[in-house]
């Protein structure tokens, strides 16, 4: 799928999510939400890609978009994967800070917020 756009894709994205109907999915997760593994073992119905997600998130956290990059899957599909695992308990999600996103130009954090972050990081480095 990632190789050559002129080629017909061989592996459809639903292989990653499985065919179980997504009735339980809330749709609250944002593509910038930070994810990390909770340490709960996977169930039998989880796919190899779920396993891979857990592997990637075991030692740290990644946002959904980053995860999509690592998996080579569309962000929307990765979002479904993340929602499935958060619903099942294998992942913990930290929602992005709404204030930071709301402030100004369409969803991006404002300059002030970024400055705050920068100064926070400076403080961390100094500590």
């Amino acid at each position: 799928m990632s190789r050559g756009q002129e080629q017909r894709r061989l592996l459809p994205a639903y292989l990653a999510t499985g065919t179980s109907p997504g009735v339980g999915l809330s749709g609250t997760l944002d593509s910038l939400a930070a994810l990390r593994a909770s340490g709960m073992p996977l169930a039998r119905y989880h796919t190899a890609v779920h396993q891979r997600v857990i592997e990637l998130l075991t030692d740290g956290s990644l946002s959904v978009v980053e995860l999509a990059g690592y998996l080579g899957l569309p962000v929307s599909v990765t979002l479904v994967l993340a929602e499935q695992l958060v619903t099942d308990g294998q992942l913990k999600a930290t929602v992005p800070i709404p204030d930071a996103l709301r402030a100004s130009n369409d969803g991006r954090p404002s300059k002030e917020v970024l400055e705050e972050v920068l100064s926070g990081l400076h403080a961390l480095l100094a500590a």
């Binding site: 799928m1 990632s2 190789r3 050559g4 080629q7 017909r8 894709r9 061989l10 592996l11 459809p12 994205a13 639903y14 292989l15 990653a16 999510t17 499985g18 065919t19 109907p21 997504g22 999915l25 749709g27 997760l29 930070a34 990390r36 593994a37 340490g39 119905y45 796919t47 190899a48 890609v49 592997e55 990637l56 075991t58 030692d59 740290g60 956290s61 990059g69 690592y70 998996l71 080579g72 899957l73 569309p74 962000v75 929307s76 599909v77 979002l79 479904v80 929602e83 930290t94 800070i97 204030d99 930071a100 002030e112 917020v113 400055e115 705050e116 972050v117 926070g120 961390l124 500590a127």
Partner: protein, 466 residues
Amino acid sequence: MTLSSKIALALGVLSLLLAVWALLLARSRRTHIRRGKDLSAEAQAANSRAHAAEGRARTEVQNRQTAESRAQEVTTREAEILDEVRHLVSDRLPALALHLISSHHPVPGLLHKNLAGSEAARLLDAVPETVSGIVLKERRRIDAAARAALRGATQESQALSYRLQTNIVGLQHEFSAPPRLTQSLLESDHLNEQNLRLTQKSAIVCGGWPGHVRKDTYVSEVVSGASSRLRGFDRINIVSRLGLSNIGVVGRAAEPVAVVCAELMANALEHSRDDLMVEVGLIQTGNGSVCITIDDAGKGMTAEALARGRSLISGEQQEVMLLELGDPPSMGFAAIGRLVADYGLHVSIDTSSPYGGVRAVVSIPENLLTSIDEIATPPSVMAPQPAVAPQAHRRPTAADSPAPSPEPSGAAALPQRRRRFSATATNDESAAAPRPLNPEDTGAMWSDFQSGLTGDRSVTDSESTL
């Protein structure tokens, strides 16, 4: 003269007389005899004449009798032939029609065995032969026409399905799709993929080609891709036991192998219960070919179905007719047979599955295999990883997590990141140490960050919390 002389004279005369009489008697007797002889000869001649006449009369009777019997024979022969013709029309030809549909229907022979060898029998026997020849020829013609029609229709439908697929994939890549929508898109994608498989299969049976040439593709990707075309693909468990993870199928054979695997998996899924898994294994054999084993725990196949399936997948059948595939035609094995014949794969099915069902083995010969550069084109995450490869569950030690060193090797397929180093740091015994506090750190950092933002907006406040 004396008395004695007189007596003597008298005696002499008497004897003379007697002699004369005797002579006369003798003569008359001789003539009598001669006359008697003549008479008997005459009688004999008459007798023989009578005999001859009698003989002629007898042969005449005989002739008449033979003529009568021949006439009798002719009428019986006529009746027999008429009988045979009637038998031909009412029994033999209908039986032949059934026989041509299914060869286990017997076709009766001649009714009267005494006709065997005659011209009439030859002609009568030639009728079914000629009829079956004509019927078979016509059947092939009609079947070829049906296949051509189906091929045209399926290829168009296939092209449309590909376009639909392109659209759906494009939508999946849309950034802002909410999960519900994504899921229904994925469902549509799956439905379309199933439809694609069915049309593709029909097209192949009808002489079409698989649809497209791929680039060289990993075997594991081909098999996963094949499974994704089926309803209930969750029940397919693919385990790769390939020693090398970079084994690929050459481009021209990738799609055919996928179609063959999809059909065999479809059979396995169809014939096993909903809660039973279908086990698929990938192994590389000693002679360099790659085998894909597909085991199901289903009911298995009857000997008849097995024999039929084997003859279809052998690829030796030159022409597969739709008529022979049943109603509705079961095209899976026929499609496999065509691909086997065209691409030199080898497929076998038998009932020696460890689970009592059917085991199918697809063997990809060495000349259809290649190796793929895993760095340039890493395998998809959706393809099964070789069973030996991922040791990635190792926890990183607290020591090596804060100091990311440059990427040590190209062993892992994906772009490297700090947390992936654990996969290569294999000899570190301390890797088994308790889980480092990294996530908690991260969590704390995030909450600090959040509290910094949600608290007061003043810079000094946020600094003080840090």
